[in-house]
Each structure stands twice: as C-alpha cells, then as structure tokens.
Symmetry: C2
Subunit: 169 residues, 2 copies
DNA sequence: AGCTAATATATGACAAGTCATGTATTCTGC
DNA sequence: GCAGAATACATGACTTGTCATATATTAGCT
C-alpha cells in the first residue's frame, strides 16, 4: 500500500512497530527508564543522586579509591566524578585527600555521614535488584549481561571495521 | 579473605567483576557507547546530531508529524523535540507550521534540504544496522528486543509493587 | 640532575535526557 | 454556548554523560 493512502495514525503505528525492534533506538529509552526508576528509589531512600549512590556504594565495597579508580569501575568519564566529588565533600559524604605516595591522585574515602547515607539507601537499592531477580531468571540475567558485553564490544569497534564492507555502494 | 588484607588492585578488580553482571550499572555505559558510536557515524555522514537524525528519519518514513507524534515514536519527552526543532528549522531542515485543523499542534515536514541531509546520512546509518546484523543473529536480535520490552515494563512499574515484599526487613 | 613522556585531575563547552510549570487551543457536558 | 477538563506545545531548571584541553605531578631515560 503506497504511503499516501495510509492514514497518519497508520503511518505512526508502522513507524513505532519498526522502531520497537531497532536496538539502537531502544537503548536511550531503556536507559532513561532505568535512571528514572533509580532516581525514584533513591528519592525514597534519603535523596541521593544516582552518581552519589554509585560513589558511596563503590567506596563502601572497595575501600579508598582515586577518581580514576571510581571512573574505571563505573565505566564513566573521570570528569563526571571530578565534578561530583567536591559537592559530595561539601555535603560531608566523603573525604578527599591528596595521596601521599602519588601527589597526582586524590584518595577518596567514606565519612561517617557517607557511610550512614549508604546504609540508609543500600537496603532499598537491594530491593530493586531483588525485584529484578523476580522479573528475570538467573539464566536470563546472565544472558542479558552477555549481550551487554557483546554490545559494548560492538559499540567500541573502530568505524573503519564497520564501514569497510561495500561502503562505496 | 577479609577486605583489609586485599590489595587495592584486588578490591577494584573484585568490584569491577561484580558490576559487570549488574544490569543496572551496565545500562548507562552501554547507552553512552551506543550514542558515542552513533555520533561518530553521523559526523562522517554530514554532521547531524543524533536528535536531528532521528527526526529526519521519522519524517522521511512517516510523513508530516506533530511534536507529540515524534516524541511518541522516539519514546522521548516532547520537550526535547520542542527545543530541537526550532534549531532544525533555522538550519532549513524542516518546516514547522501550525496545523490548520488543530491549532495546538505543529505540523513538521521535511524540506528539500532536510531530505538531502537524510539521504546523505541514511546509507551510513544503514551500514551501522547491517554491521549489527553481522554481530548478532536475527534470533539474538529478536531476543534482545524482547528483553528490552521486559526491561521497559520492569522500569515503568510503580515503586509500590517492587517494594511491597519484605520491605520492612 | 634534567628532559620528555605519561598519568591524574580540573574545567569549559556541549549533547541528550528528565520533570515541573505555564499558556494557548480544543473538546465535552450540561 | 459556555465552563472546565484535557491536550499540545514552550520553557526553565536540573542530571548525566561526552570530548577537548590545560595543569600538576610522577616516571623513565640519559
């Protein structure tokens, strides 16, 4: 059926259907929904931001860390932490000291206030992970993590490797 | 082994390993990598932004659309399009006219310049989707899309439904 | 020691996304 | 036909993320 004879509603529905199976277009909304949900959980658990929660969690689990360590664990650009940490320090959540051994690094540690904020949020966030485990079986979660690994690898491939096949067409 | 006897490198490695299977923490980096890759492809295909590309693609596939239509197809907040479209209009990529039938709606259409920009970018972006189909089988992509549907459903659930089980613990 | 390279952090500029709120228009029920 | 509800859009304020670039410190080589 030629496009011109379709109603607008039909065109939109066709487009939505096609986009539903487009992995690229699914990523932003899935991520946005995840972040929105996390924000709501954290709102109920003391009002931490997502970035703050991740920092407190990592520090609580892996002890004193530098900015680069945190960035590498969280797979984010270090600039994000470089900007977020001073605000967390002003709130009393973390200590930031220059490393005595390597004067370039900052050593970030949890304060007592930070530990309390973490312990307040942790059980709520654990409930979120528990809820995910009710929605997906362990095998499914493992498979999903595997897909994420492969997606990461795909997204990080150099352009040249993706474009070299019949790129002149 | 108690945490205090681990080296810092061991603590970081343990934390990274654990985070690798945490779906929540995988979403941001996977999405960021996807967006970064899309940006690079678009840079090579005329310099469109991701938002611009999506708008041109939708308009090209589904004809004249309102802001709300575009937002619903793309699963984003309408404010994003409300802000992006005037800039696209200034670049000559789209026309924006108030709908004659419904004076609240804007009718967004592709201009000739917009159509050319789309046709320049489209083959490159198609190569990206083709490359994805080389990295994943059709069955895997179908399964992945199914997981996204279920993740969407999980993320959009009201908090109360996720917290009501042993939430007092 | 001293020069160069590498590393760790800070910061400016930006893209993409959210939510809340305000305004104009249309729809609905009486 | 009008009051109030609903809808479409605009806009301000914010979060999360990127990249590029500058600066300070350490590491390595001679």
């Amino acid at each position: 059926m030629p496009k011109s004879t379709q109603t607008k509603a039909e065109r939109i529905r066709a487009r939505r259907t096609r986009e539903a199976v487009n992995i690229f277009s699914r990523m932003p909304s899935a991520y946005a929904a995840s972040r929105s949900q996390a924000t709501k959980f954290l709102q109920r658990a003391g009002g931490l931001s997502v970035v703050e929660w991740r920092v407190l969690w990592d520090l609580s689990e892996a002890g004193p860390l530098s900015i680069r360590d945190l960035a590498s664990i969280q797979r984010v650009d270090h600039s994000q932490l470089s900007r977020a940490l001073p605000a967390m320090w002003r709130k009393g959540l973390v200590n930031m000291e220059r490393d005595e051994v390597d004067g370039r690094q900052m050593s970030i540690t949890l304060t007592e206030v930070g530990r309390q904020a973490y312990e307040k949020a942790a059980p709520i966030m654990k409930q979120r992970r528990d809820a995910l485990r009710r929605a997906f079986t362990p095998e499914e979660l493992k498979q999903l993590a595997g897909y994420f690994d492969r997606l990461d690898a795909f997204f990080c491939q150099p352009l040249s490797e993706l474009l070299n096949e019949d790129s002149q067409a």
